[in-house]
């Protein structure tokens, strides 16, 4: 971060007819680096679209898929592009076994999947980030204890921990979020601690100490903002992972209840009919899930490259 300040100083002799470049803040530099990769920009655009769909689902869906009055079992398992009985509505992606429009189902599913993913990522960020900062700042016994716990937790696969927690807790959107937070906080704690330890040794923190600023102020105003770059990457990648994990758990039937149909549950419903050739019931929700996760990962992957000081061009 601090190295970028030097390039921003406009004290080099400027040739008259060349326009003076605007001062390059780290943020601007980040944006221009990010725009370099077309794939990452595409990922960001696609992710923005899924986000908009998720937020606006109740208003843009052709049908409310969970209003039983709008469903007709006679429309069940229609292939993509088929019309309903009264020929008033086209099911672009077909219908499931209950005669539910799959496109609407996917819109509502995205809403739930994204909500669970983003909410669990931010709660784990709060908990893990706070513990990581504390661990780096306190040092000594607390630090080694916390990091032992993190090591221990990370040596067990997330899916196993989540499975067991949900087996004990039962189904429910809040329980899934709890399980995801428990499996994810350690990643944030480790990342924040790692960069906080590096940043703590730097001169600006020493300077802040010399100015006799309060500990809380140093931690939150000086230390934390400088730990952000690696954290942003971890948050993006973890949101994608959380969405995938939730879908997997729901698919196994121990995640969300049938009243909160996320993409994973839609795919699970289709599984029963797959062997009879009704492929679209699982196929399209899966494509939606895949597109969401790929777009997030494309963004995260590129951000990791541009925020990595070792690869700084």
């Amino acid at each position: 971060m601090s190295s970028t300040v030097e390039t921003a100083l406009p004290n080099a002799p400027v040739i008259a007819d060349e326009p003076i470049p605007p001062p390059q803040t780290p943020f601007r530099r980040f944006v221009s680096d990010f725009l370099e990769s077309k794939l990452a920009v595409l990922g960001l655009i696609v992710f923005a679209i899924t986000l908009v769909i998720a937020v606006l689902a109740p208003w843009i869906s052709p049908q409310n898929p969970y209003d039983l009055q709008q469903l007709d079992i006679m429309n069940g398992k229609l292939p993509p592009g088929a019309m309903d009985m009264d020929e008033t509505m086209t099911f672009l992606l077909g219908t499931d076994d209950q005669g539910r429009d799959l496109l609407s189902g996917i819109f509502y599913g995205l809403r739930i999947s994204l909500f669970v993913g983003v909410a669990s990522a931010f709660i784990s960020l709060l908990i893990g980030g706070a513990l990581g900062l504390f661990s780096a700042y306190a040092g000594g016994r607390w630090d080694s204890f916390l990091m032992r716990v993190v090591d221990l937790q990370l040596s067990f696969p997330a899916i196993l921990i989540a499975l067991i927690l949900l087996a004990v807790l039962g189904q429910g959107i809040d329980k899934v979020i709890v399980a995801l937070v428990v499996t994810q906080w350690a990643y944030y704690a480790r990342t924040v601690r790692g960069s906080a330890l590096v940043e703590r040794g730097k001169e600006y923190i020493e300077a802040a100490h010399c100015l006799a600023l309060g500990t809380r102020r140093i931690i939150f105003r000086h230390l934390f903002p400088n730990c952000l770059p690696p954290l942003i990457v971890v948050v993006t990648m973890r949101i994608a992972y959380a969405i995938m994990l939730e879908a997997t758990l729901s698919f196994l039937g121990i995640g969300l209840p049938i009243t909160e149909p996320s993409l994973g549950l839609l795919i699970a419903t289709g599984f029963e009919y797959m062997l009879s050739g009704y492929y679209w019931i699982s196929f399209f929700p899966g494509v939606a899930l895949l597109v969401t996760i790929v777009s997030i990962n494309l963004v995260g992957d590129h951000m990791r490259d541009i925020l990595n000081p070792r690869l700084q061009r």
Binding site: L39, L152, S155, F156, P157, I159, L160, L163, I164, A167, V168, A240, M244, A247, T248, F251, L252, G253, I254, G264, I267, G270, F271, M274, L275, G277, Y279, S282, F283, G286, L289, L290, I293, V294, N297, L298, D301
Partner: protein
Amino acid sequence: MLVFLIRRLSQSLVVLLVMSFLVFVGVFAIGDPVELLVSPDADQFERARVIRDLGLDRPLWEQYGVFLLQSLKGDLGNSFVFNQPALQLILERMPATLELAFAAVIIAIVIGIPLGMVAGLRPHAWYSRMIMSVSILGFSLPTFWVGLMMIMLFAVMLGWLPASGRGETVDLLGVPVSFLSEDGLRHLLLPAINLALFKVSLVIRLTRAGMRENMLMDYVKFAYAKGLSHGRVIFVHVLKNILVPIVTVVGLELGNVIAFAVVTESIFAWPGMGKLLIDSIYRLDRPIVVAYLMITVLMFILINLIVDILYSVLDPRVRIADVKS
């Protein structure tokens, strides 16, 4: 080496104790087994008798002690559903899971290392970029959905491979395995590829990173200066050096693969212990859940231990650093 071994072994024991306590408290203390075992219209004395018989009136640490002693004897309780020892039920299904996991790891290595080496040697060539893009896809594909699509394509539409089960098994040293019969191999192929997908991407990335880093090092320049052939430098000198991190990560991932087998096994109806776990969670068959957990914990600790020891054999610096600290 001995100091290192003793230190690592004692660490593993502590972890095992801590985990067994967490599992015990997690699965037994939350929720009430009495509700399950006593009929709702039983009177107070009946309930009290059951609680006393189960030892639930004793303090937690005492219950845990009994549990610990019993598990040391290999008794993790009887399954509520099958009325057989839970441990035995799981051990019966373990070979199927291990076979699947090993098959997946082998596929990941056989595909991942060559692709990663290619991508690392020529990082800017179009085919290297393609390999890397595909590997992002590998990270992002939801395993269970890919499994479904594979069933749809290869089993339902093309009819080439079977969609479920383990097929014909052959006894190898008294353990039934699938990979020795043609029918079993056909059953193994789809689930193993499905489970391997995620790991292929991981191995590609690790190999590529290792290649890029090592090709710039002095020993490579030296080897070329000595007049060694390109093939020898890459396949002997560089490969040896990049294998260290790959062995570690793949070893550690073996545990992960076994855990993820839960998903693959449920999709392909593979009769392993992961499927048993899911079925037992549905049926509230608590002893099996506990036994599965204890066995996986033990397996994880063993895997970590073996990887650490392997690592210290491959890279003496680790061993020395650990003893010194």
